[in-house]
Assembly symmetry: C2
Homo-oligomer: 341 residues x 2
């Protein structure tokens, strides 16, 4: 896995730049604009050709690191208590597309269980499958995915998943526990958790920093804001009713965006030295692109690179980090259920 | 009740000012500093003697208005479906102090049920009482109050209250539903709900405004921030790890504080024309006061009066508004349980 890390990594698909491959053991790179403790010290790549450009936070590397750690933990668990975590996936309304979890599960030693329910399956059948996973002691994490058009009550199926195995973390009780001080949620939702991992594993301090989250969705904006607050950031959520959002982002040490508005966050919106995590993805027409469109983020990447100290974008993201989060939550669940420290 | 409204009302206990008694039917008072739509149009009193001072939001009047409305609704419910809401109060560890809910319940027509468990009662006995209230169809709201030293597991007792009757609204599931867009909590926690009522009933627009909440407690700061966000404000929570909180409060159209730090928010922290809701209470030594101390809020009241457009403070608050919120939540619960619109 490490052997791949020295390869050419694109800052965007059109402006490749060489990955500076260093880790904590080998040394540290500091960004040129250091904002308090907001420094990047681990694997980063230069964004664009300017010597004053932001460093690119290497999501792929963080994903690989986490997967390696999970593999080690699963192995330790197997050796110690002869148990391995199990991830169950219920695919509803899809009989063609293969599911993406089996291979990574196998790689880290997690057992995977897949049930495919074709279009037209009754709600009762789906609930039966969920109930079976809930009761199965070999299953520690459950994912339900609705593909194609399903005529089922999705809420009803999702609510049937036992909260102790609901690794998506979107159950309202889990969200409530995430919001409350002194309480612990069962799971951290995957994309918000991935953002925090990116900051932590690049030694970007969150405590005492001002953070702006753009977007307030249940699946990302709201939980990532709650997570940042648990990490002692001072958090503001910007949304569609916010007036002059650029005045607010310009005060922020950390900007996290997930609204799907192409290039909304311009360079002028960003405080020099800020850290940017762009989770938004949009497709815009481009007559020069192969298929007539290209993929852009919420943040105007080229402009942001000139102002921010560190940046990462979802554009072109292989999703490795998100899969790592599912595996991590499955492991967390198995350790909790079997009281394995 | 209305007859009392023309009485002298203290802006603080030391600087009384005459209540300007107007309501929506009679006319409207506009504050001199109007910030966009942030205008006070209903019952307010001048704060201090300066002609340029903030208007005092009249909490007592809002409390009375709500209680009057509840009384009317309870009466309508009784006439329509021959049912009245019921509020059950479990007092643990106190056999002396009388409970404060019976009289207001009686006034609005809500039945009240009080169980007192003296110091030394077993946890099982308390759980038995909660279970009885959960199952009683005449009970729609349950409050559990721990007084004096109790050796019980308070979390265990509180968690036993059915979420459909838990009018405190602090159950994690309820908080999760409050945090999520498109979901509805069973109840709004009382003090956050009271703050929103104060803003609504004084025609102070929340949508699109910047709001700062000082303090992130589970019982107030966090839920009031979630509520403001549901009302489409752009919300920032300030807490003990926030650097330069005054820079953040100075941007805010609405400041709500509940940290218990005497006079922390100075006049220089406040944007001209902002609206202030101060829920914090502290006691500070005062050799000239009758008992050697006096009660102050988080906000330096006299300074804030010179800058804000509207202000309200908990200092000297009779708690009428909070009791109104309990009664309101009990009514909400009864209407939901009996499907009474």
């Amino acid at each position: 896995m490490e052997a791949n890390m020295g390869s050419l990594m694109g800052c965007t698909s059109s402006t490749p730049s060489f990955l500076i491959h260093l880790n904590r053991q080998n040394g540290a790179i500091f960004t040129r604009r250091c904002m308090g403790h907001l420094c990047l010290r681990t694997a980063v790549s230069a964004c664009g050709s300017s010597s004053d450009a932001a460093m690119v936070i290497d999501k792929k590397r963080v994903g690989k690191d986490i997967i390696t750690e999970i593999r080690t933990e699963v192995s330790r668990m197997k050796e110690s208590i002869s148990m391995v975590p199990g991830l169950a996936v219920l695919l509803i309304g899809d009989t063609i597309i293969s599911e993406p979890y089996s291979v990574p599960c196998e790689f880290v030693g997690i057992r995977s269980f897949v049930v495919r329910l074709p279009e037209g399956t009754t709600e009762e059948k789906a609930l039966e499958s969920v109930s079976g996973f809930n009761d199965d002691p070999c299953v520690h994490g459950i994912l339900v995915e609705f593909r194609l058009q399903s005529h089922m009550d999705e809420h009803k199926i999702l609510n049937a998943v036992s909260i102790e195995k609901d690794i998506n973390g979107f159950n309202p009780l889990n969200i409530g526990l995430l919001a409350m001080r002194g309480r612990e949620p069962f799971f951290l939702p995957r994309t918000p958790k991935a953002c925090i991992e990116l900051l932590h594993r690049n030694n970007i301090e969150i405590r005492g920093k001002t953070a702006v989250v753009i977007g307030r969705s249940n699946s990302f904006g709201m939980p990532v804001a709650l997570l940042l607050q648990r990490e002692d950031a001072t958090v503001t959520i910007i949304h569609s009713k916010t007036k002059n959002p650029e005045d607010i982002t310009r005060q922020a040490d950390i900007i996290i965006s997930a609204v799907g508005k192409p290039n909304m966050v311009r360079g002028s919106w960003i405080k020099p030295g800020a850290v940017i995590i762009d989770v938004g993805i949009s497709f815009v027409p481009d007559q020069y692109a192969r298929y007539g469109f290209r993929c852009v983020g919420d943040v105007f990447y080229e402009e942001a690179c000139e102002v921010a100290s560190a940046i990462t974008t979802d554009v072109g993201d292989p999703g490795l980090l998100r899969i790592a989060m599912f595996l991590s939550n499955t492991l967390t669940s198995a350790k909790r259920i079997h009281n394995f420290l």
